[in-house]
């Protein structure tokens, strides 16, 4: 073939169009989304819900029983001793507070970054945040020993005319965690308002179908409660305008908040002089680890939930895949931080620092270090493979590893740094007692009790936000009615 003048050398080609996977599968209608999500609350809960609730409630009661034992007996019932004076209580506190971070990342940071896929998962993730912070808040409260004096943590006037000492990072933590809980709750509640109104209106429409007097009374009571908390929401556009602005501002406030909370948690360690704790890498490393662990927990909860309640078309495989990518990215950051800690320990030339790190990996607690490395550094790397990111049961297994690994990370940081003091005569080996272990196990019960109640009574998907990202909600698409209007809806 010879080239003629004026003919382009490279023939113009049309690249294959990449189709983006839809956020709601099968082009479902707006009404379908309402039915699917509110249907969970309106229908009877499956049998497993009752079983799971009873088991979780028993676990939670066990935890409170052990806390009662601790309070009436003293902290001697825990495995704490010199030199390990911070044990499981602090490990569990940091573990639970870290879990929460995924919820805020999804609800706030991904909102600011305009990641529309967040809409399907943000409600559940935010709920998880709040419940995790509740579990976290228990531990600093009980580890003070004399729990009836825990209120001294807050700047309240007292009979001794003394005030808290604000130069301590432990007090910064009090403010960080209580702010985090309150703001997460406000943000979550605000997102719930339009959805509570949806439930209220459906209850009103269904009131005619109530057969017995009892059904009618329950319907009335529910209408009253959902109506009360929906604040008389009528979907007015003048309201939406302020609502969206307030939502954006809350997202803008939650973003620096979530980054600061785990930074301040890390200050609890980093501001001390202890080799293994006194490092500047702690704040970013803790934040990345928190997001990593939180996404692990989100997936642990969400994978069974989407299957049981037939939400696969709203929480799609694409959503799971995107969350796996976040896990992979933050897991890699965490792995980098582990490596960098070692490098600086060697490069910094401080023999105590170097010893602390060698002791971490090869000392008496070597097993916890290597559990941490295999769960946090190796397991998320599997998500480089597409099959691994798109197979729910496999993701579930990895998410469990992430949860385990991140608990061990905090154990490694707290215990291995403490158990060998500067003086070899005060070295010791810390082991938890039955009370330590079962109190912690019980907090999972508390967490699940709250989560199960959430599934039972509140919409697990943000209905109005999911609707807003469907093509039916866009006035410029055929699904949104653009072809019916002159000028295509512009």
């Amino acid at each position: 073939m010879s080239l003629e003048a004026g003919q382009p050398v490279v023939q113009t080609t049309t690249p294959k169009e990449l189709v983006r996977e839809p956020l709601v599968l099968n082009n479902r209608s707006l009404g379908w989304i309402t039915n699917q999500v509110v249907g969970i609350i309106e229908g009877d809960m499956p049998k497993w819900w009752n079983i799971a609730f009873v088991v979780s409630a028993l676990l939670a009661m066990m935890s409170f029983g052990y806390i009662g034992y601790l309070v009436t007996t003293g902290v001697g019932v825990w495995g704490l001793n010199h030199p390990v004076a911070w044990g499981w209580a602090i490990v569990n506190f940091v573990f639970w507070i870290g879990i929460g971070h995924a919820g805020t990342l999804i609800s706030a940071i991904l909102f600011l970054l305009r990641q529309k896929w967040r809409t399907s998962v943000n409600r559940t993730a935010e709920a998880m945040t709040i419940f995790a912070v509740v579990c976290a808040g228990i531990f600093p409260g009980i580890h003070v020993g004399r729990i009836w004096l825990a209120w001294w943590l807050f700047p309240l006037p007292n009979a001794n005319a003394i005030w808290p000492q604000f130069r301590s990072p432990l007090l910064w933590d009090v403010f960080a965690v209580s702010t985090y809980f309150t703001v997460s709750l406000l943000f979550w509640y605000m997102g719930l308002i339009p959805d509570l109104a949806t439930i209220r209106d459906r209850l009103r429409k269904n009131a005619g179908q109530c057969k017995t007097g009892l059904d009618k009374m329950i319907n009335k009571l529910k209408q009253f409660l959902y109506g009360l908390f929906s604040m008389g929401w009528i979907g007015s556009n003048r309201h939406w305008r302020n609502y969206e602005k307030a939502y954006l501002l809350l997202a803008g406030l939650s973003t620096p908040l979530v980054l600061s909370v785990h930074s301040i948690v890390s200050f609890d360690f980093a501001v001390s002089q202890l080799p293994g704790w006194h490092t500047t890498i702690f704040p970013p490393y803790f934040v990345a680890g928190a997001v990593f662990s939180g996404f692990g927990m989100v997936l642990t909860l969400m994978i069974p939930m989407r299957t049981i309640f037939n939400l696969e078309e709203i929480i799609t495989i694409r959503h799971l895949e995107l969350m796996c990518k976040v896990i992979m990215a933050t897991g890699t950051i965490v792995g980098y931080a582990y490596g960098m800690e070692f490098f600086i320990a060697w490069y910094g030339g401080n023999p105590y620092e170097l010893y602390a790190f060698k002791n971490r990996a090869f000392g008496p607690y070597w097993w916890s270090y290597w559990i941490m490395i295999s769960c946090n550094v190796i397991s998320p790397q599997l998500f480089w493979f597409k099959w691994c990111r798109r197979t729910p049961w496999f993701i579930f297994v990895v998410s469990i590893f992430v949860n385990i690994g991140m608990w061990f990370e905090r154990f490694v940081i707290v215990v291995t740094s403490l158990h060998r003091d500067y003086l070899p005569s005060s070295w010791g080996y810390y082991s938890p007692t039955q009370v330590d272990i079962l109190t912690f196990v019980g907090t999972f019960g508390l967490f699940l009790v709250m989560f199960l109640l959430f599934i039972r009574y509140l919409p697990t998907i943000t209905i109005f936000e999911v609707k807003a990202v469907t093509p039916q909600a866009d006035p410029h698409t055929v699904e949104g009615g653009a072809d019916k209007v002159k000028g295509g809806g512009n």
Binding site: V183, L186, D201, S236, Q472, A482, V485, G488
Partner: protein, 177 residues
């Protein structure tokens, strides 16, 4: 029973957007668009300006920061000045984390309260809440509501205006009070 407003129902966002533009062009003031989710571009179609929630957030945040700094100065330098570890009694650096958290805390309360105040919520007795058909507003229907109190409201003309749009249903909303 008095007449509250005239209400027109639509099935798609594009149709209600077109209707909203017409109502806005006709110069109505006391009217609103109701939808199950915020519709992109509706603020422009209705001729609404920027929301004012930011002022509440700003003053909330400012209050939080001031309270944080003042509280720590008062407690650690003024009222109970105890030297700990040779550190200064007050410094903006150690006082920053707590003030920062309080900025966010009160800023968040400001945003939520600002939203409620500007929206005049909670309001549990709105005439629209008593309307049977309007219950679909939180599901999949869209409504234009023009209040009878509007200066330009005339029963025939306003109804004609709405009939000229893609409304599937038009009705009067009664106020029971």
């Amino acid at each position: 029973m008095s007449k509250f407003a005239i209400m027109a129902e639509y099935e798609t966002p594009a149709e209600i957007m077109a209707a909203a533009k017409k109502v806005h062009a006709a110069g109505y003031q006391k009217w609103d668009v109701h939808s199950p989710f915020p519709i992109h571009g509706m603020d422009d179609a209705m001729g609404l300006d920027n929301a004012k929630v930011g002022y509440f957030t700003f003053f909330g945040g400012l209050t939080g920061f001031t309270v944080g700094m003042t509280m720590q100065w008062f407690m650690n330098k003024f009222d109970y000045d105890l030297v700990v570890g040779g550190k200064p009694l007050f410094s903006g650096f150690f006082a920053f984390p707590v003030s920062y958290e309080l900025t966010i805390l009160l800023g968040a309360f400001g945003s939520l309260i600002g939203m409620f105040v500007l929206n005049r919520l909670p309001r549990h007795h709105h005439p629209l809440l008593a309307n049977e058909r309007f219950a679909d507003v939180t599901d999949d229907k869209f409504y234009v509501v023009i209040e009878c109190e509007d200066d330009r409201y005339e029963e025939q003309a306003t109804r004609a205006l709405l009939e000229n749009t893609h409304a599937v249903h038009i009705e009067m909303v009664e106020d029971a009070q």
